[in-house]
Symmetry: C2
Subunit: 416 residues, 2 copies
């Protein structure tokens, strides 16, 4: 698919994250104003709350759904309404749109640089998966040796655990280095101390846009996913190593999970669908994909020290996943677990086959034994205080891109 041209010139630049083909959903404020729902186009944010209140663009003719600062009520309306809304907004923003309409849009929009961005939706619950084969193999090799790298269930189940929704924050929120129980292999007892192995995990988050009760098919799960964000699942490796047996990660993953501020809709990603890899071990029927349900999304991570310039420390692609978000969601419902609008599913760390494709510092520095060299000098095994981590993603079209905006966080020193 080619670029859809907008009358807003900034949306037509080939390296713009937010062309007319994208129209991602976020929440913004300007100065001390109230938080409002917005849609990104070029270098502007369309005030969707304002358009609704003015009667110029309504998702639901009966009720306001954008009068609260999150997109959950809009999601409740379902896929047909999502699609209609997007089509109507596309028509208003497309080259050749009525000039009076253009004036309305300009009135009900702001320069992106003037706006602060907030959480685009209320997270109901947060689940983090472990569906990157290169990541699971790398971590398994470090922890259990190459022979036992992949757990026996891994090729059968999209392994996941429940995370902590209250810790999900929007890009730009500072992250305080956590304390926790830490015990070195040779220590007699644990101590309570700041994490010395604080790390990132590069992931894509899928947002559940329709509730379900009982097992749903992979096809239904795919339709229930509203959109996607780039996600950084901050992880304290030293806390994790001591706590995670036998019931899994807990406080090591509860400090913060940062998401990019714009929900890129599943509809905007249609041209970039791709298939999960061929299986050497067949999947059970309830996990079989009826079509391509993964996406070709280019990803990278930049690390910027407090004093210094950015080094891109990894480049990878969402297409590396072994399980799609649709498969993860179908599995999530397999026990009868009710899912709700606003549930967030982390893909698991997205590592590629090569060293420079790895999605965490644990892997990039091989457990701290092979520190990375930064472009501005110095090395990194794990994140240091003052470092800013920036995760970026986009799907590349023909002369345009569908971008996610930056997912960024600066690490502050541990308290006291």
């Amino acid at each position: 698919m080619a670029l859809r041209r907008s009358w807003l010139d900034s949306a037509n630049a080939p390296d713009c994250d937010f062309p007319l083909n994208n129209l991602p959903f976020g929440v913004f404020s300007v100065g001390d104003s109230d938080l409002r729902c917005g849609v990104a186009i070029g270098d502007r944010i369309v005030d969707a709350t304002g358009l609704e209140a003015a009667g110029l663009l309504r998702a639901d003719p009966q009720a306001d759904v954008l009068d609260a600062p999150f997109w959950n009520d809009f999601m409740e309306l379902g896929p047909a309404a999502w699609s209609r809304y997007r089509a109507a907004l596309t028509a208003m923003l497309a080259e050749g749109a009525d000039e009076a309409l253009q004036d309305h849009i300009i009135t009900h929009s702001v320069q992106m640089t003037r706006a602060a961005l907030h959480m685009p939706f209320r997270v109901s619950e947060y689940t983090d998966f472990y569906s990157g084969r290169h990541h699971a193999t790398n971590v398994g090799t470090m922890f259990r040796g190459a022979e036992n790298a992949l757990p026996p269930n891994w090729l059968h189940i999209p392994i996941g655990y429940n995370g902590r929704a209250s810790s999900v924050v929007v890009s730009g929120t500072p992250v305080t280095r956590p304390h926790g129980q830490i015990k070195g292999q040779d220590d007699a007892a644990p101590r309570f101390a700041p994490s010395a192995r604080f790390d990132i995990e590069l992931e894509i988050g899928a947002i559940v846009g329709q509730a379900s009760d009982g097992l749903i098919s992979v096809a239904q799960a795919f339709d229930n996913i509203f959109g996607y964000v780039v996600l950084n699942d901050w992880s304290a490796r030293d806390i994790q190593a001591w706590e995670y047996q036998p019931l899994g990660p807990f406080q090591a993953k509860a400090t913060a999970t940062t998401i990019s501020p714009w929900i890129v809709t599943a509809e905007a990603l249609v041209p970039f669908r791709t298939s999960t890899p061929a299986r050497e071990t067949p999947l059970l029927d309830y996990l079989t994909e009826p079509g391509p349900m993964l996406y070709d999304i280019t990803l990278e991570v930049g690390l910027t020290p407090e004093q210094g310039t950015e080094t891109v420390i990894t480049r990878t692609n969402y297409a590396e996943m072994y399980y799609s978000a649709a498969q993860q969601l179908a599995h999530h419902t397999s026990s009868g677990c009710p899912m709700r609008v606003g549930d967030l599913l982390g893909s698991g760390t997205i590592s590629g086959p090569e060293k420079h494709n790895r999605g965490s510092l644990l892997e990039l520095s091989w457990g701290g034994t092979e520190p990375l060299t930064l472009d501005s000098g110095g090395t990194r095994s794990f994140v240091e205080d003052g470092d800013t981590l920036t995760l970026r993603g986009h799907a590349q079209g023909d002369g345009y891109r569908v971008g996610f905006g930056a997912c960024t966080g600066t690490v502050l020193p541990a308290r006291r």
Copy 2:
């Protein structure tokens, strides 16, 4: 402490769960009426929503907090308001209260037998701990042998994992036997089938009544807990065995968690405070209890087959826990994890030292090798379709008890 006498005779019976000393908070409806907040007293439910609307008893002079069918907004007001409200209601219900007041209460109350009970609060997030030493030892012995029964971190950390809030249901809700991936030790591959080892876990749930951001002390955590419920963490042991490594239980615990319908306040339990056991291994400072923060609560489980009478299959006590809910909550905040009003913390399965004190069928039948004999005939290793499981708890005072009401669930056959 002795019984506080009420002018409502049914509240003064020594075996009544809901004397004036208790006053637990729930949500009820009568017929097709709206859901309302209520307080249990004797054989009646006081309509707290109605008392607030009539201006007869207000928790907050400025705003209605009981006009929605959950106690979360009330919890937001904080411990001083909780205490004031309870004192005012106690005065209205105490022997000798003004007769006009008594008339108001009768007008704004219903017979408990006429009411349906609903979820008493909105669960923000659900965390399940593993803090029963006998339980952890029993399960560890079955899975890893007696030598390695207790994981190395267990005496240092209140081990827990995040559960699934959307699956928490109120007593009386039927529970459908889950499907899941199951793989026997000798099977070449897993299959997708109904769980054949569906089980209960007898627990106490603590309800967080105040939000926090960053590490809080055990003393603060204790003050932040609004109240307690009896909790059944339904568990599919066969699904759990195959899925739980390396990231912990997931779908095995996502079918349902049943709670008793009445929130017994921390204040009502003050006379029953007791200490966690002496430690052979000292705890880190952030987990040290400044006083008795556990409770003496007698617990039992009855199993009633579809055709047959109830067998009490276990009797135990909350005082068996190694970690209190206050210690669990303090640990939960240690990484900086934000906690919110309505967070629910399961204690972990409460098993006592003897076989007949065990809090799960897995333990009672020792992994299915020693089936229980039921009073009405037949045996049980795990829960069968049509079985009703009833968990009960009360704190025993001098001539009265503070009871939780039944936490019950009937298991329906797997779908299709």
